[in-house]
């Protein structure tokens, strides 16, 4: 099941500074707990991608592409129905 809608993904992509808004969103959706929220905020994007991969929210391939192409790929992946 997708974590966000395509419209929500588009909103993140258009943001000037997206990171804390995305983490807040994922915490609200209970994808992130407080401890991981804090850890990822400190440690950065790569930690977010790895966490989402470990939790199988995104696939291994999506994780790789998210690191190659950045957060726009990631949020689109989060807006896709998982297979």
């Amino acid at each position: 099941m997708a974590v966000m809608t395509k419209q929500q993904a588009k909103k993140f992509i258009e943001m000037d500074d997206y990171f804390i808004d995305l983490l807040d969103f994922l915490k609200e959706k209970k994808v992130l707990d407080q401890d991981n929220y804090r850890r990822i905020l400190l440690c950065g994007y790569e930690f977010l991608v790895n966490y989402l991969k470990e939790k199988k929210v995104i696939s291994e391939r999506d994780a790789q592409k998210s690191m190659q192409e950045g957060y726009t790929y990631l949020v689109n992946a989060l807006a896709r129905e998982s297979t």
Binding site: Y18, F19, I20, R38, Q68
Partner: protein, 654 residues
């Protein structure tokens, strides 16, 4: 114990008492070392209402668990105090070899308090510590005092921190040097040492640093040293020192021409690293265990200053008493002015900054020759700059007013808000020679938020926007976003500044040179944690390491909060906000740009969990960081900051 020496040396110059205090495991794990140890002591032991020149005020010198080892660039030391320039939290950081020597002598930190009855210097010879007479070296330049002390102690291999005449005369931006030329430039701690009648601290250390896992430690050190061989930023720094930035600054419009009236000049190449190398470069020198070796030595070969020889200059040291005061045609004038500020023991940035401010006051008719004692403060007048640098150091004539720093000088001259506009300072300390309208909006944000005042390229060192393009994939890895690599965009900058500030603060606690971890990104955070764990035998995670940095920043921020400094003071000089960058050269890239600070600030506050309205760290964040006592200190102050009485106070310094 591995890594750390495990003890602090406390010296009371009033009573002559010398104590060695153990540093517990919990303390070392929480604060790590260097800036962390120092900030913790300053917060706890120097109340916000104490005069920085009060004998009870502390000055701290801190090194870290890696100091003195074979990891890249581990010779640095942080010096911290309540700043006589800003009245708030102050620290600075210097390279050289003194930090490593202190560690070999068996200490992680020195805390100095009290005031000697007459000039003294401290001699630390491993576990023997003496307070010795310094009346015969009081008044000497750092290089001369260094020579005399070495002869007196009969050892040319000892390392010495010294103040110059400016520190002795309580110039509010006096600094310290070690190994003669390596400066801890900012925030005026040289004057605090001068107020204590302390001329120097000489150290000889014959011990060593115990490494928990030697093979693992040396494997990671060797791996990193190999990386440096082909590191792009390192190559520029090695070849030209930090003057490698001059032509880049000029092209991108952050070259500080005439107090930031402009961002470029057609003659900038006169003082570039490339020109310096072929005209006046004498030799190079590196700091302890450094693979970058950016230290340049200069010998002026012709003109009125022919024969002058000194260590340096750095970019930040040469632009303030060069282009910032309108001098660019004869680079020998710029090198001479840098040499002079070194020999007199003053922060080059602040010295040039206050002179440039005075020149703009003069240009705008706010002061006249009557105020300046007859000096004609015209842009580019080297005779006047040469005179004023000395008058400031010796507190003579108009120099005595400027020795107070630009913000206080403005008040003494009765120039009001109109004069303060030109001081180019935040919280009382002038910004370095990097115009954020060109260098980057992230820098601009970090200038506003820096926890030591007009900060500053060494607080967040937003190099992901300066040199990030040299390291493909790095912005994506940390930020998930390539947009922040563009300097004049706000995209991604609040998170970038938050991330870099934490990383930089943790690096300062480790006490390694940030040129290895920012500017050059040869050493990444995971490498730092790897060598930290191999050295200490502990199990730090990246999260814990970065959280230490976050803890230190919040503690320093809270120190300012106790002075009633918060959201209203989180700004930069209005020139950057209001005046579009004018065109200088044909190739300048940032014409028309102003710094859009407000929206970035709001987002940044969310990252930091600072309370809107006050800008104070939230109780929640302070408790998360184990700073409950700080939360208790700030609780009664939050409402006070929001009161009408406080809102009316305009604070340019404290």
């Amino acid at each position: 114990m591995y890594g750390w020496a495990g003890q602090r040396l406390r010296i009371d110059l009033t009573t002559g008492e010398i104590k060695k205090e153990p540093l517990s495991y919990e303390y070392r794990r929480k604060w790590l070392g260097g800036r962390g140890f120092n900030s913790e002591v300053i917060y706890r032991e120097v109340p916000p209402d104490m005069d920085p020149f009060d004998p009870r005020a502390r000055v701290c010198f801190g090194v870290g668990p890696i100091s003195g080892t074979a990891a890249p660039s581990t010779g640095r030391v942080t010096v911290s105090c309540k700043s006589p320039l800003t009245g708030g939290f102050g620290d600075s950081n210097m390279g050289g070899h003194w930090g490593a020597e202190l560690k070999y002598a068996g200490y992680d930190q020195i805390v100095i308090q009290g005031k000697a009855k007459k000039p003294v210097y401290i001699w630390i010879d491993d576990d023997k510590v003496e307070i010795r007479d310094a009346s015969h070296i009081w008044g000497k330049f750092p290089r001369d005092a260094d020579t005399i002390i070495k002869e007196e102690l009969g050892d040319q291999d000892i390392h010495i921190v010294v103040i110059g005449p400016a520190g002795e005369n309580l110039v509010r931006f006096a600094c310290t040097f070690n190994d003669i030329w390596r400066a801890a430039g900012r925030t005026g701690h040289g004057a605090v040492l001068g107020s204590k009648n302390l001329k120097a601290i000489a150290v000889r250390g014959t011990g060593s640093v115990k490494i928990a896992k030697p093979k693992e430690f040396f494997d990671v050190c060797n791996r990193l040293r190999q990386k440096f061989k082909t590191d792009p930023m390192r190559m520029g720094l090695w070849e030209y020192g930090s003057l490698c930035l001059i032509n880049i600054a000029n092209r991108d419009g952050w070259f500080p021409w005439r107090n930031f009236q402009g961002g470029s000049h057609p003659l900038a190449n006169n003082m570039s690293g490339e020109t310096h190398k072929v005209t006046v470069s004498k030799h190079k020198e590196g700091c302890f265990s450094c693979p970058i070796c950016c230290g340049q030595f200069t010998e002026i070969k012709e003109g009125r200053w022919a024969g002058e020889y000194f260590g340096g200059p750095e970019y930040e040291h040469s632009v303030p008493t060069g282009p910032r005061v309108g001098i660019i045609e004869d680079a020998n004038d710029i090198w001479h002015n840098a040499r002079l500020t070194n020999d007199l023991g003053m922060d080059g940035i602040e010295t040039g900054g206050v002179i440039a401010t005075a020149m703009e006051w003069y240009e705008k008719g706010l002061i006249t020759k009557k105020d300046t004692g007859g000096l004609e403060l015209e842009w580019g007048n080297e005779d006047v700059v040469h005179q004023l640098i000395q008058d400031i150091a010796y507190r003579r004539g108009f120099g005595a007013i400027l020795a107070e720093g630009a913000a206080r000088a403005c008040d003494k001259l009765g120039l009001g808000d109109k004069g303060q506009y030109y001081t180019m300072a935040t919280r009382g300390m002038t910004l370095p020679g990097d115009d954020p309208r060109g260098l980057g909006f992230g820098y601009g944000l970090s200038f506003a938020m820096g926890t030591r005042g007009g900060c500053d390229h060494l607080r967040s060192l937003c190099c992901l926007e300066l040199s990030g393009f040299l390291y493909p994939g790095l912005n994506l890895r940390y930020l998930g976003d390539e947009r922040p690599a563009k300097p004049t965009t706000t995209a991604g900058k609040p998170y970038m500044v938050y991330y870099e500030e934490n990383q930089k603060a943790a690096t300062d606690c480790l006490q390694v040179c940030c040129f290895t971890t920012h500017w050059s990104y040869a050493v990444l955070t995971e490498d730092q944690v790897e060598y930290l764990n191999a050295c200490t035998g502990l199990d730090f995670t990246i999260e814990e390491f970065l959280q230490i940095g976050e803890r230190v920043i919040n503690l320093e921020r809270a120190y300012w909060a106790r002075l009633m400094s918060g959201e209203r003071e989180d700004t930069v000089p209005e020139r950057f906000l209001k005046e579009p960058m004018p065109k200088g050269t044909e190739y300048q890239t940032n014409v028309g740009v102003t710094l859009p600070l407000t929206d970035m600030l709001k987002k940044y506050y969310r990252y930091r969990d600072y309370e809107p309205g006050t800008g104070f760290p939230s109780e929640r964040k302070l408790k998360e960081l184990g700073l409950e006592y700080v939360a208790d200190d700030l609780r009664p102050l939050r409402k006070k900051y929001l009161s009408e009485a406080e809102k009316k106070k305009k604070k340019y310094y404290y």
